[in-house]
C-alpha cells in the first residue's frame, strides 16, 4: 500500500485522498445534531459529530453515530414502485415519478368523487419536519382526516401541557435545586447525561421514578420503582403529602392557580392506607422524596411518555406538582416552551399553525374525534388509533384510501388489526426511506430522501436556525417529502397557490412575519435570528396563560364546561389494569421502553444495531424467572388476550418483580401485536402500551 492508499483506507480528509468533510444534520431523529460527513466520490464514508453545531456540540448519541449505516441501509427505496404482487408480498415494479403522481392523483380523486374527501386519510409517521406541508395538503384536498403517529406517542403530554398551562413546557434543570426524573433515562443521550452529571456536581438532588431500574437509578438520590401504569397514584400521593405538610406555595397558588381545592380533594385519596397496594411503592419512600423536594426547591421535572390509560392525567398531575410548589415559570422550575414550528421550540413564532388552520375543513369531524371529545377540542386531527374502526367497521364513517408518509403498522396496538385495515383499503400509497413491511402493503411506494440528501428547516435552542445544503445527491430517484407534497398539489390541481409555489416559497410564506427568509439561514452553519426572545421568568404568569381562566388549571375548565363528556376535570386515578384479567395474566407487560441503540423502527435491519444491542428480548426479573423455570437465553412465549409472540428471555434486575419489558416495533418480536387496542385513555384515546397484562411460558424446544 502507498502512503496515500493507507490514508484513503483510514478515511483521512485531504486533497491527496479526495475526502472532504461536509457539515450536515443527523438523519436519524428530530434533534438535528450537527454531523461532519466524510464524503468521497459523492458517497458518505464516515460520520462524526460537528463541533461547531449547537446541536450536540461535536458529539452524537448511539443512534446518531450509526447514521451512515442508516442512510445506506440495504432496504432503502430508490425508485417509485407500483405493487404487482399481493399486498405485503413485496413484489413491485419500478415506475416513473410521473406515473406515480398520476396514479395517486387519479386514485385519491376517484375515492373523493365516490365517497367524499373525508374517505381519504393523509397520514404522517415519525419524523415531523415535513408535517406542516402534509397537513396543509390534506386540508387543501378537502379531508379533515390528517392523522399522525403522535396520536399514540407524543400528543397526550402536549395536550396535558395545553390543558393545565396552555403551553408545551420544559424543565430548567440547570438552575433547579431538585430534579424529578419521571421515566428518566439520560444515559440514552450524551447531551442529557452531561446535563444531569453537571447538575449533580453542582449539588442538585435527583429523584428518579421508573418501573425499570436503568442506569439513572445509580445516580439518583432517591429511586422509586412503581408497578407500571400506576404512577399517577404516586404523583397524587406526593401532592397529598406536600399539601398536608404545608410544603406548598400558598401565595403563588392563590394568585396563579385555578381549581386547587378540587385537586386537593382528589389527591387526598392517596396516602398511607392505599398507596403501596396500588403502586408497589412504600408510603415512607414517597414521603422521603417529598421531604427532598421541599428541602431543595425549586423543582424541575422532565416530560415523559405516559403510554397507559392514566397517561394524560399523570402528565397533568406532574404539572400540578410544579404549580403547588410555585415552580412553574420560575428560574429552576418549569418554563413555557411554545413551539415555533411543528413540535420544535424556537423562542419565536412562525405561522405554521395558521397556515394549516386556514384550509381545515370544519366538517365532518375527523375520525376518532367522536369517541374522544377532549382530543377533538385540543387537536381536531384524526385520532389515528381509530383508523381500523373506520376502515373495518365504517365507524364513524368509512376510510377508503390512505396517503401516508412513513406509516408503520407495528407502532399501533393490536398491530395485526391495523395491518388488516391497510389490506382492506381501496388505495394505499406510502412514502418511506425503506421498504418496510408496511410499505410492502402499499399500491404505490414513493422513495424518500434522507436529511443529508436534501434541505429542511432546523431549530436549535437559543434562536439558532439552519436550512443546511445537501451533502450528497439523493440516493436513486428519492425526493424530499415536502417536494412531493408540493408536486402533488400541482398535479392534483388543488386550490392552494402557496403549496403550488414550491417548497422554499412555502417556507417563506410561513416565515413571513419574521425577520429572516430561508436564504438567510442557508449558510454553512446555523445562525442566530433576531426574532429570538429568551424566556423571562414570571412573564407568562403575569401576562395570563393561554388557558380559559388565564391561570394554571389544576381543574380543567374545558372539561368542567362539558359534563356530557363524562371526564373528570381533575387528574383522578383510574385502575391501571383490568383486575378480571389478573388471575389468567399475572404479569404486567411494558412494550416500548426506550433503548440506547434503537429508535422505534428506524434502525431495524441496521447491521450495527444488532451488533451493539443484541437481539430483541423480554426482560424478566430473576425471581419471576425462577418461579417460571426460565433461564437467561431461553426462548419463551408471551401471551396476552390479544395474541402471542415468541422471543428470547433475558433474566435481569432491570425489570421490576411482576413486570416484563419488550422493545417495540421490531419484526422479529413485534410487541405491539399483543397489546390490546381496546383499553384506551378516555381523555386522549391512547392505548396501554406500558400496562397490559400477560403471561409467559417456556417455548416448546425446536
Amino acid at each position: 500500500m502507498t502512503e496515500t492508499e493507507k490514508r484513503i483506507a483510514a478515511k483521512i480528509p485531504g486533497e491527496d485522498t479526495g475526502i472532504e468533510i461536509k457539515k450536515s444534520v443527523c438523519p436519524v431523529c428530530d434533534r438535528a445534531c450537527g454531523i461532519n460527513a466524510y464524503v468521497k466520490d459523492g458517497k458518505i464514508i464516515k460520520i462524526e459529530g460537528c463541533e461547531t453545531s449547537p446541536g450536540g456540540k461535536g458529539f452524537l448519541c448511539p443512534r446518531g453515530i450509526s447514521a451512515r449505516g442508516y442512510i445506506y441501509k440495504k432496504d432503502r427505496v430508490l425508485y417509485p414502485l407500483k405493487r404487482v404482487g399481493e399486498r405485503g408480498e413485496g413484489r413491485f415494479e419500478r415506475i416513473s415519478w410521473d406515473e406515480a403522481y398520476r396514479t395517486i392523483a387519479e386514485k385519491l380523486g376517484a375515492v373523493k368523487a365516490q365517497y367524499g374527501p373525508q374517505a381519504v386519510t393523509v397520514y404522517s409517521g415519525h419524523t415531523k419536519w415535513y408535517r406542516t406541508f402534509v397537513q396543509r395538503f390534506a386540508y387543501s384536498f378537502g379531508t379533515p382526516n390528517y392523522a399522525t403517529e403522535s396520536s399514540c406517542c407524543f400528543t397526550h403530554g402536549y395536550m396535558a401541557g395545553k390543558s393545565v398551562l396552555g403551553f408545551n413546557v420544559g424543565p430548567d434543570m440547570k438552575n433547579a435545586g431538585v430534579f424529578l426524573g419521571w421515566s428518566y433515562c439520560p444515559h440514552r443521550d450524551p447531551r442529557d447525561l452531561k446535563a444531569v452529571l453537571s447538575f449533580k456536581k453542582n449539588g442538585g438532588k435527583l429523584i428518579v421514578v421508573d418501573c425499570r431500574r436503568t442506569q439513572a437509578a445509580e445516580i439518583a438520590d432517591i429511586f422509586l420503582q412503581p408497578i407500571p401504569g400506576t404512577d399517577l397514584a404516586i404523583i397524587l400521593c406526593m401532592a397529598n403529602i406536600l399539601i398536608e405538610n404545608g410544603w406548598i406555595d400558598k401565595e403563588y397558588i392563590d394568585k396563579y392557580v385555578y381549581g386547587f381545592d378540587k385537586f386537593r380533594a382528589a389527591a387526598a385519596k392517596y396516602g398511607k392506607d392505599n398507596i403501596e397496594a396500588l403502586s408497589g411503592v412504600k408510603y415512607e419512600d414517597i414521603y422521603k422524596a417529598c421531604e427532598l423536594i421541599h428541602g431543595h426547591l425549586p423543582m424541575a421535572i422532565n416530560k415523559f411518555n405516559g403510554h397507559h390509560v392514566n397517561g394524560f392525567n399523570a402528565n397533568r398531575a406532574l404539572y400540578a406538582l410544579s404549580a403547588i410548589t410555585g415552580c412553574y415559570d420560575v428560574k429552576g422550575g418549569q418554563s413555557p416552551k411554545p413551539f415555533a414550528f411543528q413540535h420544535m421550540g424556537g423562542g419565536f413564532k412562525t405561522l405554521d399553525r395558521e397556515f394549516c388552520e386556514a384550509k381545515r375543513p370544519l366538517s365532518p369531524l375527523p375520525i376518532g374525534c367522536d369517541k374522544f371529545p377532549l382530543w377533538n377540542w385540543y387537536e381536531h386531527e384524526a385520532q389515528a388509533i381509530s383508523i381500523p374502526d373506520s376502515v373495518l367497521n365504517g365507524e364513524p364513517y368509512p376510510t377508503k384510501a390512505i396517503m401516508a408518509f412513513g406509516l408503520n403498522y407495528r407502532m399501533w396496538p393490536d398491530s395485526q388489526r391495523m395491518k388488516e385495515a391497510l389490506n382492506k383499503l381501496d388505495f394505499f400509497a406510502d412514502m418511506d426511506l425503506f421498504l418496510t413491511d408496511t410499505a410492502k402493503m402499499a399500491d404505490i411506494v414513493l422513495p424518500a430522501a434522507s436529511t443529508v440528501e436534501r434541505s429542511d428547516l432546523k431549530f436549535y435552542p437559543g434562536g439558532y436556525m439552519w436550512y443546511p445544503a445537501p451533502v450528497i445527491e439523493p440516493l436513486g430517484e428519492s425526493r424530499p417529502d415536502e417536494q412531493v407534497v408540493c408536486d402533488l398539489a400541482e398535479i392534483m390541481d388543488l386550490d392552494d397557490p402557496v403549496l403550488r409555489s414550491g417548497v422554499v416559497a412555502t417556507y417563506d410564506h410561513i416565515l413571513r412575519d419574521l425577520s429572516f427568509k430561508i436564504k438567510d439561514v442557508s449558510g454553512p452553519d446555523p445562525v442566530k435570528v433576531a426574532d429570538f426572545k429568551p424566556w423571562q421568568p414570571m412573564q407568562a404568569l403575569t401576562a395570563g396563560l393561554p388557558t380559559p381562566t388565564r391561570k394554571i388549571e389544576l381543574s380543567c375548565s374545558v372539561i368542567e364546561d362539558h359534563p356530557e363528556w363524562g371526564l373528570c376535570s381533575v387528574p383522578d386515578y383510574m385502575p391501571a389494569f383490568d383486575e378480571k384479567e389478573a388471575a389468567e395474566y399475572p404479569l404486567v407487560l411494558v412494550a416500548g421502553a426506550r433503548n440506547k441503540n434503537r429508535f422505534h423502527s428506524r434502525l431495524t435491519n441496521h447491521p450495527w444495531e444488532r451488533a451493539a444491542a443484541g437481539e430483541i428480548d423480554i426482560q424478566i426479573h430473576p425471581d419471576d424467572a425462577a418461579e417460571l423455570g426460565i433461564k437467561d437465553g431461553d426462548r419463551v412465549v408471551v401471551e396476552t388476550r390479544t395474541g402471542s409472540i415468541e422471543l428470547k428471555a433475558s433474566v435481569t434486575e432491570v425489570s421490576r418483580r411482576g413486570s416484563v419489558n419488550i422493545y417495540h416495533d421490531d419484526p422479529s418480536a413485534p410487541a405491539n401485536d399483543i397489546i390490546p387496542s381496546d383499553r384506551r385513555d378516555p381523555y386522549t384515546g391512547f392505548p396501554a402500551f406500558k400496562s397490559s397484562r400477560c403471561r409467559i411460558r417456556k417455548a416448546a424446544s425446536r
Binding site: K46, L193, R213, Q215, N597
Partner: protein, 138 residues
C-alpha cells in the same frame, strides 16, 4: 507516546465508541466476528458495570506471528498489521489476552489504534466519539 486510556468510572456503557469503530473500519456482521471494539453495560447484584474493550497494543501477537506480519509503528507505538503474507493461522489470536485479532476471509484484522488518523493529527475514532471522557488519548 500517547495511548488510548479507558476510565471505567466515566463510562456510560453507551456503545458510541464501538459503533464509531464499526463506522471507521466498515465493520460488517457478515465477517462472522465481533467488531474491533466492544462495549456495553450490564446490571448485576444491583450495580451497573460498564465496559469498553479493544486491542491494548501490548504486542504479544508480534512475536508469535510466523510470517512477521505484525509490527509496532515506531512513530505512534501502535501495533499494526500488514496482511500481505498473512495465512490466517490465528496464532496471534491465541496469544492475545483480549482476543483482539479477528480472522476475516482468511486474513487477520484488528484495531490499529487508528494509526493513520493519529499520524494525521486526529484522535482515534472511538476517543473522538466518546462523549463522557471515558476514552481518552494521552
Amino acid at each position: 507516546m500517547k495511548k488510548i486510556v479507558f476510565r471505567e468510572e466515566k463510562c456510560a456503557g453507551c456503545n458510541i465508541c464501538s459503533i464509531a469503530c464499526m463506522d471507521q473500519n466498515d465493520y460488517d456482521p457478515s465477517w462472522g466476528t465481533e467488531p474491533f471494539r466492544t462495549s456495553g453495560c450490564v446490571l448485576k447484584d444491583g450495580k451497573y458495570k460498564n465496559w469498553s474493550t479493544s486491542c491494548v497494543h501490548c504486542g504479544r501477537c508480534i512475536d508469535v506471528c510466523p510470517l512477521t506480519c505484525i509490527s509496532r509503528d515506531k512513530e505512534t507505538g501502535m501495533v499494526v498489521v500488514d496482511d500481505t503474507d498473512c495465512i490466517g493461522c490465528g496464532a496471534c489470536s491465541d496469544a492475545c489476552p483480549v482476543s483482539a485479532p479477528k480472522i476475516v476471509d482468511g486474513k487477520m484484522r484488528k484495531c490499529d489504534g487508528c494509526n493513520e488518523r493519529i499520524k494525521a493529527g486526529m484522535l482515534p475514532a472511538c476517543v473522538r466519539a466518546c462523549p463522557t471522557g471515558a476514552l481518552s488519548f494521552e
